[in-house]
């Protein structure tokens, strides 16, 4: 019994970590190719078919490079920063449900690594941890540009976390639960969260762009002003860790917004009939139907996450970078009041609708 629990937990961890880390090279490739297509260029197309092996070549380069540490850097924090950067979003992924349940060997397996009632709080805690690698990296590498990038990054993330939290809070009031599973169940029974609370979804979407330091909010990295920002002094595999962390954070943010606002793993329209068609075709019993549903739920979540990943790239090559005061204006003068008003309106609506 315990043996089975251990095996299924390991399998789930392997699936989530494997998929999220495996998507990173594909996203790196797509980011570069997509940018090229949007700008009328070709992009990397030499290594492997369609240049798909380009990330592999990059990794070989990263591994072969000298592992350089600046002379006056604080070694401990210097090495710690990229590790936190990668591990924090991976941990946050552990409470994202990627399916309702599967039945393996007569036992029910909940498709979520950590079943917590306070799942959303857990995600927020680890998303909040993302500010630490930026500060640590910027300060520990003892470089003025790194420190500037770190200051920008920390103030930006702290500012946008507030409106993000308020948008999240309005959804928590609607769902009446912290548990991601129940949120998805609520959304598959009623409507997607984004349809009920569009302003909350919008504020949340803008905030996760700022949280993951993606354009148009990539001021911590701002190449044109502060060289490369907080990871300026990082080279070789340590830089690669930051690079991977950025994409894992994007996956985490996409999974979070799909779970909270876009129905999570609930089946996309048309998938339900597909499941029943396949089940009747092969004559599945109840176990088979549950497992086929789980597969389609996973595909549904993956397609939603994929859409948001595409949106990240799409936005990146559409919008220029904000100026820092514009960024703060948007965060404090527009998104913060908007999310507050939205929270009040949603609360009042929920109060009267539940009566």
């Amino acid at each position: 019994m315990e043996y089975f629990d251990f095996i299924q937990l390991m399998a789930k961890i392997l699936l989530v970590v494997g998929v999220s880390l495996g998507v990173v090279p594909v996203m790196v490739w797509f980011e570069r190719r997509g940018a090229a297509w949007m700008q009328g260029r070709v992009g990397p197309n030499r290594v492997g078919p369609f240049g798909l092996l380009q990330p592999l070549a990059d990794v070989v380069k990263f591994i072969m490079k000298e592992d350089f540490v600046p002379k006056n850097a604080n070694k401990f924090y210097y090495y710690l920063a990229p590790l936190i950067a990668l591990i924090a979003p991976l941990c946050a992924l552990s409470v994202i449900p990627f399916g309702s349940k599967a039945i393996v060997n007569g036992q029910e397996v909940v498709l979520q690594i950590a079943q917590m009632d306070s799942g959303v709080i857990f995600i927020l805690a680890f998303a909040g941890l993302e500010v630490y690698p930026i500060i640590l990296a910027g300060w520990a590498s003892n470089n003025k540009y790194s420190v500037l990038g770190a200051l920008r990054g920390s103030s930006q993330i702290v500012s946008y976390e507030i409106s993000m939290g308020l948008a999240l809070l309005s959804m928590l009031i609607v769902y009446g639960t912290f548990n991601p599973h129940e949120m998805v169940a609520w959304q598959s029974e009623n409507y997607w969260g984004a349809l009920i609370n569009p302003f909350g979804a919008l504020v949340f979407l803008i905030s996760i762009f700022a949280e993951t330091n993606r354009l148009p909010f990539d001021l911590p990295e701002g190449e044109s002003e502060i060289v490369a920002g907080y990871h300026l002094e990082y080279g070789a595999m340590k830089f690669a860790l930051f690079f991977m962390a950025e994409y894992v954070a994007m996956i985490m943010a996409s999974a979070l917004i799909s779970t909270l606002f876009f129905g999570g793993y609930s089946l996309l329209p048309g998938m339900g009939t597909l499941v029943s068609m396949i089940s009747s075709q092969f004559g599945f019993g109840e176990v088979g139907v549950t497992n086929v549903t789980a597969v389609f739920q996973f595909i549904s979540l993956c397609s939603k996450v994929g859409f948001f990943m595409f949106l990240f790239v799409w936005i990146r090559w559409t919008l220029p970078r904000f100026r820092f005061d514009q960024l703060m204006d948007l965060g404090w003068k527009i998104l913060f009041p908007l999310s507050l008003i939205n929270l009040v309106v949603v609360t009042v609506m929920v109060y009267f609708l539940n009566q």
Binding site: G34, A36, W37, M38, Q39, G40, R41, V42, W314, I315, W317, T318, L319
Partner: protein
């Protein structure tokens, strides 16, 4: 006084900011579809395809040879004198009288004729100065080398028949 106020009143649509973002996203999506589905691009895939330059493009030098594969150069030093970058170095020599089939036409010959391509500014003055049409600039622009020494080309590397500037060095 001297300042011009260029700020303007923004309309509500402009202040909302999001419609403008959507328009921008529409444009990038259009470009993305063009690139992804129709493979539209403006890039020249360099080693396979090369850019066409005009006949007047001034690229790598060559020294034209006559029908006997003898260089037309008579080591008159005009090109070396006119060269603003001082990249041409000629050592002159005399042709032996008994074996010289050209007679007085090609009494002198260059013993060595070196051009430092790293110093050259490709102005084409040498080509203009040459009375024998010996030194010419071709349209070849691929002059990368692995070392600085290789960038100094000598007479054997420069010689090729003059059949238009486009032709590759055939040796």
């Amino acid at each position: 006084m001297g300042t011009i106020n260029v700020s303007k009143k923004y309309t509500a649509k402009e202040r909302a900011y999001l419609p403008a973002i959507l328009i921008g996203m529409k444009i990038t999506m259009k470009r993305f579809i063009e690139g992804f589905f129709f493979r539209k691009h403006f890039t020249i895939l360099y080693p396979e395809k090369k850019r066409d330059y005009s006949d007047r493009f001034r690229g790598a030098h060559f020294i034209s040879v006559d029908e006997n594969k003898t260089e037309n150069c008579t080591a008159c030093f005009l090109c070396e004198t006119v060269c603003p970058a001082e990249c041409i170095h000629i050592v002159a020599d005399e042709r032996e009288e008994e074996t010289n089939i050209y007679g007085v036409k090609k009494e002198k010959k260059p013993l060595s004729f070196d051009i430092d391509l790293l110093r050259c500014c490709f102005c084409g003055f040498c080509e203009e100065a040459c009375p024998k049409d010996a030194i010419k600039l071709s349209t070849n622009y691929e002059m990368a080398t692995y070392s600085r020494d290789e960038a100094i080309v000598d007479l054997d590397q420069l010689k090729r028949p003059m059949n238009g500037r486009h032709e590759k060095k055939d040796n």
